[in-house]
Amino acid sequence: MRKFAVILACAVLCLFVGTALAEEVVKIGHTVSLTGGASMWGQSEKRALEMLIEKLNAEGGVLGKKIVLVSYDNRNDAVEAVNVARRLVEDGVVAVIGPAQSGNAIASAPILEKAQVPMVVTTATNPYVTLDKKTEKIRPFAFRPCFIDPFQGTVAARFAFRDLKAKTASILYDVGSDYGQWLAKYFEEAFVKEGGQVVAKEAFRTDELDYRAQLGKMKELNPDVIFIPTSQKEAAMAAKQARDLGIKAVLLGTDNWGSPDLIELGGSAIDGGFFVNLTDLADPDIQDFVAEYRQKFGEDPVLPNPVMAQDALLLIVDSIKRANSFEGPKVAEAMANTVGLKVTSGTLTIDPTTHDPLDKPAVIQKVDVTNNAFPFHMKFYPQDVK
């Protein structure tokens, strides 16, 4: 009996201590790919968030509470992303950063919406992340600090037509990815609108390694550019196989190409290619961040995710402050009315009708194999392609 009383006393004590601790911190959820094909960005993203949280907490946290990051690995898998979203809701986070991929973000959105937890994705650029596809209505709890794919596709098409002087283009895309499928569509629409011609649009299935059949078909049609809206792994393989077939077209990619290992994987085949990105290492706005990251971790951040994740965190913290509350609906309302917030990538203004940023430019980077770099080529602002 005495033993039981001791256990009970301990339990009660734990409960008190637990609540006391809980009151001093605020949990921010983070759903991220720490393993799998996208782990390079995921790991870098997590480091950048921890680096920023350390700084924010040193300045007193948010509304007097210390920020705690709760990161779970979604393995870049939609099913796992749903599980992670549920777990974060159970953990009682006030807002969620991520996921970085459109497919995973679209899968997670309904769960966080139901729990009224604001979600700020990092680099998910598909329109249906913040827009409900069925009802065509804005998702009240979904936001993003990055540009969206119609803009990215338009920028790629305009760059191809006006700057590369391409008259014909072909598209190689992953039919199993929301990202690739929609970008292929947006690029095609914009390129045709510019006056160009899309001579071939060939798909492959996720995890396929050989695209020579598709590329062989393109070779006959001899396009000026080949648009490949995939991640760096597929782009590298497609580039090698295209050059093996003797295809000389300029290769054009999207923000998922922007991984430091693109050059290692693609070798000389990928040289001279271009891709659209959210930000780049040479961007004057992020030099302080890059320097701080380098100093702390001894290597370059894997862009753009770390920058976008910091933007997301700053948006969450600022919205909590303006709402003067940790309640989801109030924070989301404040988020929708963000104007000119200073973030890592520059400034952030959220469009209340779309929950997308109004002022995020896109950069074009060139693939320079000789110098192992992606030099900045040019920049497009939203008003440029209107």
Binding site: S39, L209, K233, D244, S268
Partner: protein
């Protein structure tokens, strides 16, 4: 366009054939599908990559060491995971399940130790191409194709002209009888696994050069397995022919119909073949063999 499609199909088929040989070799002796073969191919690719990065940046030493390394790993795999089952006369289904377990285990071992990132081999042949009547084939594909055919031919000679080869073929015909005649079965099986592993090593390097190196790359062997079944599991010429047919069919479908339908045709071909030719094109009757 047709010539280019056929050339591409042949070069894809050549790699399928190289991988299918390993399945067929093990099946011919132990009568089970060694699904760990894909994982050994993946390890072969990593061994070759290690050689190229840390020892000698040349293709031939990488191929040689990867062949030996993957061969030894395949023998170890057999010793640790299959030999006990084999001695207990377990049904071949259990061996197959054990092989699947090995595949996942090895894959996760690589995840845990080397990590999930992608690696590429340096460019041995840059992107030099050979032009043939308006169609192009890369030097690497040509080399891989000739090497595959040569290696499969060499294996065939080994099995028909050497004493060990004859012992293996005797084992294929009747293992109990073979052991009664004084053949050391454990040694024989070790030789078979070493050969299968050596082929896995070469296949791994070619896959790594052609595509990329990463822990789950072994799953492409699903296709090689289909090639082996089409050609007739257990038959070496069958593995070669099955691989080439599959490569050409896939490329034709991707080019003239749609790449999205490619696997529909590959697997459809497999099912149709199993219905009408259950032993594959060149397979032997396996019904009575247990």
């Amino acid at each position: 366009m047709l010539l280019q499609t056929l050339i591409t199909g042949l070069s894809i088929g050549g790699i399928y054939a190289l991988m299918a040989v390993g399945y067929s070799l093990v099946f011919s002796v132990l009568n089970f599908s060694n699904f760990a073969h894909g994982a050994v191919i993946m390890l072969g690719a990593y061994i070759g990559l290690g050689v190229v990065r840390f020892l000698a940046p040349a293709l031939l030493p990488a191929v040689a060491i990867a062949m030996i390394g993957a061969g030894v790993l395949a023998v170890l795999n057999e010793r640790l995971a299959y030999s006990l089952l084999r001695r207990r006369k377990a049904p071949s289904l259990y061996l197959m399940i054990s092989a699947m377990g090995c595949a996942v285990l090895l894959e996760n071992l690589v995840y845990a130790t080397i990590g999930s990132r992608f690696y590429a081999y340096p460019e041995f042949f840059a992107t030099s191409v050979v032009t043939l009547a308006g169609s192009t084939v890369s030097l690497l594909d040509l080399f891989a194709f000739i090497f595959s055919i040569g290696a499969i031919g060499g294996l065939h000679l080994f099995l028909t002209r050497t004493k060990t080869g004859i012992a293996i073929r005797a084992g294929v015909a009747d293992m109990t009888m073979c052991s009664l005649m004084g053949v050391n079965l454990d040694r024989l099986i070790a030789v078979v696994f070493f050969l299968a592993g050596a082929f896995a090593g070469v296949a791994g390097i070619f896959l790594g050069i052609k595509y990329l190196v990463y822990p789950t790359m072994g799953w492409i062997t699903n296709k090689a397995y289909i090639a082996a079944v089409i050609g007739g599991l257990g038959s070496l010429p069958g593995a070669l022919i099955g691989g080439l047919i599959l490569g050409i069919v896939e490329t034709l479908v991707s080019t003239y119909i749609s790449s999205v339908y490619r696997d529909l045709f590959s697997f459809g071909l497999l099912i149709a073949l199993l219905l009408y030719l259950p032993n594959g094109l060149l397979g032997r009757e396996t019904g009575e063999k247990v």
